[in-house]
C-alpha cells in the first residue's frame, strides 16, 4: 500500500537504529503520546531494537482508555431506552461500565449500531424520524472535526432526533497534566501525528517553552516512529528544546484550519475527567450554547452522574507513563482482552492489550 509499506522496510529501520546509536551518549526517557504509536512500538518490537539508553514510556493517547466509567454508564443507559438508536465506533462497545458494556446492552435488545463515520448517524436520523439517534462522540482532536460536521449538518437540516454524547478529549492539556506529575522522569514527547495534522504546532510550542521539553510530531509506521525518535534524541543530545515535525507528509505547521474552524463553531474547551487520572482543566470539548439542543446528556437528564472505578486496575498509572502493564497484578490473569477489568485492556490501542497480544510473558 502506498504511503504505508515504504515505512516498514527493515533496511531503513536498521539504518535509523544505527543513526540513533551513533548520536546517543546519555540516558533519555521518551513518551509516545498516542495509543496507535504504542501499539506499533510493541507490535514491531521497536522498543527492543532501540539502544537500552532509551526508555519509551506509553502515554494517555487512547481515547477509548481515558473515557470515564460514568460515560460508559450513561451510554448504556441511553442505549437501553426503547426509542433510541445508539451509534458508536466499534472500539467503545466492549469497554466495561460499572455494570455492563454496550455489547451486553445490545444482547439485551438495545439498538446499538457501529458506524464508520459520524455522517452516517445523520443519515440514520433522517431515515428513522420516529426514533432518537444518539452518537457516542469519543476521540481526540483528530475525531472532533468529523463530529462537528455531523452536528453542523444536523442543525442546517433542522434534524431534531439527533444528539451526541460528547466525551472528547484534547492532547495539549493532557501533556501539561503529565508534566506536572511528581516523580515522573520524562525528557521529551513524540506527539501524535494525526492530532497534530488537525491542530498544528501552536499548542506544543507553548508547552515546549513553559516546561523545557522538546516535542517531535511523529507518524505511526515503524520508520516514522524511528525518524521521530532520531530527531528527538538529536535535540536532547544537542541541548535544544523545540517543536519539530517528523510527519511532514500529513502535518502542517498551522494544522488543518478548516477543521479547526468547524470544531470551534460547535465546541468549546471544558474541564473533563480522564479515566484513571481524574479531572484535567480545559482538557475536553463540550457543545457551545448555540448547539446545546444536540447534547444527549441534557436531553436524557444525565448531567452530574459520577462513578468510582474498580480498585485493582492501575490504568491511571499506566496512562500517565508511571507504570507498565505487566506491573499490574491483574494483568493476563484476572484481566485479559476477553474479560477486561480496565479500558487499556479493551482497546487494541491500549497499552495493556498491546502487551497482552504481542508480549505475553
Amino acid at each position: 500500500m502506498k504511503y504505508v509499506d515504504e515505512y516498514r522496510g527493515s533496511e531503513p529501520v536498521r539504518k535509523y537504529i544505527r543513526a540513533i546509536t551513533d548520536i546517543l551518549h546519555r540516558d533519555w526517557t521518551i513518551m509516545e503520546v498516542c495509543g496507535g504509536q504504542t501499539h506499533n512500538i510493541i507490535k514491531f518490537g521497536i522498543d527492543t531494537l532501540l539502544p537500552s539508553k532509551i526508555t519509551l514510556i506509553h502515554g494517555p493517547g487512547c481515547p477509548v482508555c481515558v473515557t470515564p466509567i460514568e460515560m460508559l454508564d450513561k451510554a448504556v443507559y441511553i442505549a437501553s431506552q426503547s426509542e433510541v438508536i445508539f451509534c458508536s465506533f466499534g472500539d467503545m462497545l466492549r469497554v466495561p461500565g460499572s455494570e455492563k458494556n454496550l455489547i451486553t446492552s445490545r444482547a439485551e435488545g438495545a439498538d446499538v449500531r457501529i458506524l464508520y463515520s459520524p455522517l452516517d448517524a445523520i443519515k440514520i436520523a433522517r431515515e428513522s424520524p420516529d426514533r432518537k439517534v444518539v452518537f457516542f462522540s469519543v476521540g481526540f482532536e483528530t475525531t472532533a472535526p468529523a463530529v462537528a460536521m455531523a452536528i453542523i449538518q444536523a442543525k442546517k437540516l433542522g434534524i431534531k432526533n439527533f444528539s451526541a454524547l460528547v466525551a472528547h478529549v484534547l492532547v495539549p492539556p493532557a501533556l501539561e497534566a503529565i508534566l506536572s506529575t511528581p516523580n515522573l522522569v520524562l525528557n521529551g514527547f513524540l506527539a501524535p501525528g494525526h492530532v497534530s495534522t488537525v491542530i498544528g504546532q501552536g499548542g506544543y510550542e507553548r508547552i515546549t517553552k513553559k516546561y523545557r521539553v522538546p516535542i517531535v510530531i511523529t507518524g505511526f509506521e515503524p520508520l516514522d516512529i524511528l525518524f521521530g525518535v532520531y530527531k528527538l534524541v538529536k535535540q536532547l543530545e544537542e541541548g535544544r528544546c523545540e517543536v519539530e515535525n517528523a510527519y511532514g507528509r500529513s502535518a502542517r505547521p498551522e494544522g488543518n484550519v478548516l477543521a479547526q474552524q468547524a470544531v470551534d463553531e460547535v465546541f468549546e474547551a471544558a474541564d473533563r475527567k480522564w479515566r484513571g487520572i481524574g479531572v484535567i482543566p480545559k482538557s475536553g470539548l463540550a457543545l457551545r450554547e448555540s448547539y446545546r439542543d444536540f447534547d444527549a446528556e441534557s436531553l436524557f437528564s444525565l448531567n452530574g452522574l459520577t462513578v468510582e472505578e474498580p480498585s485493582e486496575c492501575i490504568a491511571g498509572y499506566i496512562l500517565q507513563g508511571l507504570k507498565k502493564p505487566n506491573e499490574c497484578t491483574a494483568f493476563g490473569t484476572r484481566c485479559t482482552p476477553q474479560r477486561p477489568l480496565g479500558a487499556p485492556m479493551v482497546s487494541s490501542e491500549g497499552a495493556c492489550a498491546a502487551y497482552f497480544n504481542y508480549r505475553r510473558v
Binding site: 504511503y3 452516517d120 494525526h194 525518524f227 511532514g248 500529513s250 490501542e349
Partner: protein, 75 residues
C-alpha cells in the same frame, strides 16, 4: 482511534446538501469520503482519511523526509 488511512481521490462532487464529498480508493476498496476540510484537493491526489473525512493532502515531497535524512547523515 486516531487511525488515518492513505488513499487516492478518484471522484469529487458536492452532495445534495452542498457538502464537498468524494470517493477515495484505498488499494482497491473505494469509500465515500467527506472532503469539506480540504479546499485544494483534486482528483488523483493522495489524502489521509480518518472516520470518513480527509484530514490532509499527502505532501509527496515531505513523504521522503525520513529517507532524505538518512542520506544526509551518510547512511
Amino acid at each position: 482511534m486516531c487511525l488515518g488511512v492513505p488513499g487516492k481521490v478518484v471522484k469529487i462532487e458536492d452532495n445534495a446538501l452542498g457538502l464537498r464529498m468524494g470517493v477515495v480508493d484505498f488499494g482497491g476498496t473505494k469509500r465515500e469520503t467527506c472532503l469539506a476540510y480540504l479546499d485544494d484537493v483534486q482528483e488523483g491526489d493522495w489524502v489521509l482519511v480518518h472516520i470518513g473525512f480527509a484530514i490532509s493532502k499527502i505532501d509527496e515531497e515531505k513523504a521522503k523526509d525520513a529517507f532524505d535524512t538518512l542520506k544526509e547523515i551518510g547512511l
